[in-house]
Amino acid sequence: MKLKKAWLTAMAVATVWGAAGSAAQAAEQYIGLPSYRVGSYAAGGTGVFGGWIDYMKLINERDGGVNGVKLVWQECETEYNNARGVECYERLKQHGEQQNVLFAPVSTGITFAVFERVAQDKIPLLSIGIGRSDTADGRVFPWVFPMIATYWSQASAIVGYLGQREGGMDKLKGKKIAVLYLDFAPGKEPFPVLDRLAQKWGFTTEKIAVAMPGNEQQAQWLQIRQMRPDYVILLTYGVSNPTALKTAARTGFPADRIVGWWWAGAEEDVVPAGEAAKGFVAGAFDPAGTDFPVIQDIQKYVYAKGQGDMQDPKRVGSVYYNRGVGHGIIYVEALRLAQEKFGKGKPVTGEQMRWALENLKLDEKRLEAIGAKGLMPTLALSCADHEGSGRVRFQQWDGEKWVPVSDWIEPDRELVRSLVEESAAAYAKEKGITPRDCSKEQ
């Protein structure tokens, strides 16, 4: 009898323990992170993914997760390589019983490579500031989210900034703008917008290619010197950024007349150029700085406890780092929204996450509550609009730090959206896709 009682007790304990265990397991939300911490673009990868992970650590540490659901993640090293990116996509797809709910490779090449897989697997693809601009049309690309600003919006914002500097868009008439671009897909992505804006405002553009990796640009800058442009728009990445700034200085082109896109606007792009970078202006959707309350909270709750992800804590608050925090905020806010709709305190699926991303709205009030006011522009996505903002800020390197020199600049929405719809419609026709009717979706 005693033995039977002991046996029953053991069974009961095991059952309760098991249930508690599975409940604990269920109260975790998994995400797979295709990071790149080694190789050519490791400086960017460690910053972006470091910031993202630190934000998730902050949410776990300070708030106990999202409505009690702890955030867990697994990294896979892509080295910013497309083939490895696809391999990582497959590896990260499933984690025990949970499916990956968001794939964000922070690489245009990998974004292109997994483009069609995400739709089959029902995993949203987050491509903040990268990827194909026409994927902003959610009717044709329901699983892709080129949030905050696409290359097309950015190109339009750069022209808008130049117009502001000149004292009005009409003042751009007759101006000559050299476009120095790295000869890879993202480098050429802004061309359609630049061409149409050149027609609209009466300026001319001269496009000059720099072959990958762009560590020697003497010939290009001598051509620019001969051309004598009013401005140079810099669409380069990695080592080609400091090389461009150094070579510009060597050939006598002033840095303050060079305006870069956001992949030229991190500390890693200007520090190696030293004095030559002083005065250079670059776009940003995630300005640098440690004054944002959310960054201070990360320092308080994560770094003060020695749990930070950055090998060099001085990089906290840098452009790449803050970009990663921005990714983290979008992920967590979408998760929160998905839980509100589909059940609080439970992990969500890829399809639920997609719904949340499409309905995500981050206004000034919410950004202030998160402690990220000014760290990113306000966002409002919809079924048709997967970009949600398009606004870009510009900052200038003073030799020590980035200093904001503009407010959030709106792109030429009408022009950009017409291009997006035109290109998306062509893609839909080519692939035989019937665009979604957003009026019928909730």
């Binding site: 400086a43 290619a209 003497q218 010939a219 001598l222 010197r225 190696p272 060099d312």
Partner: protein, 308 residues
């Protein structure tokens, strides 16, 4: 004409920088018959190690990283690291591959390049660093004022450094006992061993010397573009130089560098606009290919004759 000259001279100076990297390849090929695929990784490793030591020494002693004692101490420590690397390569890689086909050795250096890249970033981190050697990267004023030519002071200084390095290495190979032993080893491993040349010591010496050349190349390229992973790509610029100048000729590296540097810049400016631009990455390879058809051993390479 002034523009042509500017492009041409700029190209020649850039070519000297390519030659600096090519020298490391030549040294190792000359002494061991190995085309060292890891030379680019060695340039990166050397520059990152130098910057890493500079930062730490400056922090420990409360000095500026640009202070002279910090510079020389970091340089000495980096040189020691390159000697250690040479010893490790000989002890754990080359020693096992004595008298193996060249392709085996080449494949081993491919693996070595991944290892060195990983160790460099694992040890010193992935951050990008600036490097100031105290030489201003600005035009030489009297050339600008008198001839309206923009020639960089930094590139001129780097070209002088490369020239001096080549002269020293050429003398070393030609007139020293170690230099002659290096050449003997390159000709035939077993024959060199049979006449008492200590193959293992010679390999350590030559890899260490290639390491020192990598330090110079790493510092020059690092000061120019920043110390970052992309330094490994400097090897891509050196390969056509090697094909042109010959794999076994130290002066050939310089001549090859000058030809490649000048021709790629002229091609970019005068041919580029007709084919969409950005041709300076592949044009040197096309040029090298044409040279290969005419002189397979390169301009200064040793002619290979086999008995039938």
């Amino acid at each position: 004409m002034q523009f042509f000259l500017e492009v041409f001279i700029g190209g020649l100076l850039a070519g000297m920088l390519y030659a600096l990297v090519a020298l490391g390849f030549v040294l190792i090929f000359k002494a061991s018959g190995v085309l060292n695929f890891a030379q680019g990784a060695m340039v990166f490793f050397a520059a990152l190690t130098f910057v890493g030591f500079s930062d730490r020494l400056a922090r420990w002693f409360g000095a500026s990283p640009d202070a002279s004692p910090v510079f020389w101490a970091a340089l000495a420590l980096t040189a020691a690291a390159m000697v250690l690397l040479a010893w490790v390569v000989e002890r754990f890689m080359l020693r096992k591959l004595v008298n193996q086909p060249a392709i085996t050795l080449f494949m081993a250096t491919i693996g070595l390049s991944y290892l060195i890249e990983g160790v460099a970033q694992g040890t010193w981190g992935a951050a990008v660093h600036g490097l100031d050697l105290g030489i201003a990267d600005e035009p030489v004023m009297w050339l600008l004022e008198r001839y309206n030519l923009m020639i960089s002071k930094f590139d001129l200084s780097a070209a002088v450094v490369a020239g001096v390095l080549v002269a020293v290495l050429a003398l070393f190979f030609q007139y020293t006992k170690v230099g002659r032993a290096l050449r003997a080893v390159a000709d035939d491993h077993q024959a060199a061993l049979s006449v008492g040349i200590p193959l293992q010591r010679i390999w350590v010496i030559v890899w260490a010397v290639a390491g020192f050349v990598a330090i110079v190349a790493g510092l020059v390229w690092g000061a120019r573009n920043g110390v970052q992973f992309a330094l490994t790509y400097t090897a891509l610029k050196a390969l056509p130089v090697l094909i042109l100048g010959g794999l076994t000729s130290v002066p050939g590296a310089i001549v090859g560098g000058l030809i490649i540097g000048a021709s790629e810049k002229l091609a970019e400016v005068y041919l580029g606009p007709y084919v969409g631009g950005g041709i300076d990455s592949w044009f040197p390879y096309v040029l090298a290919l044409v040279f290969l058809l005419i002189r397979p051993e390169g301009l200064f390479g040793e002619k290979h004759i086999d008995r039938v």
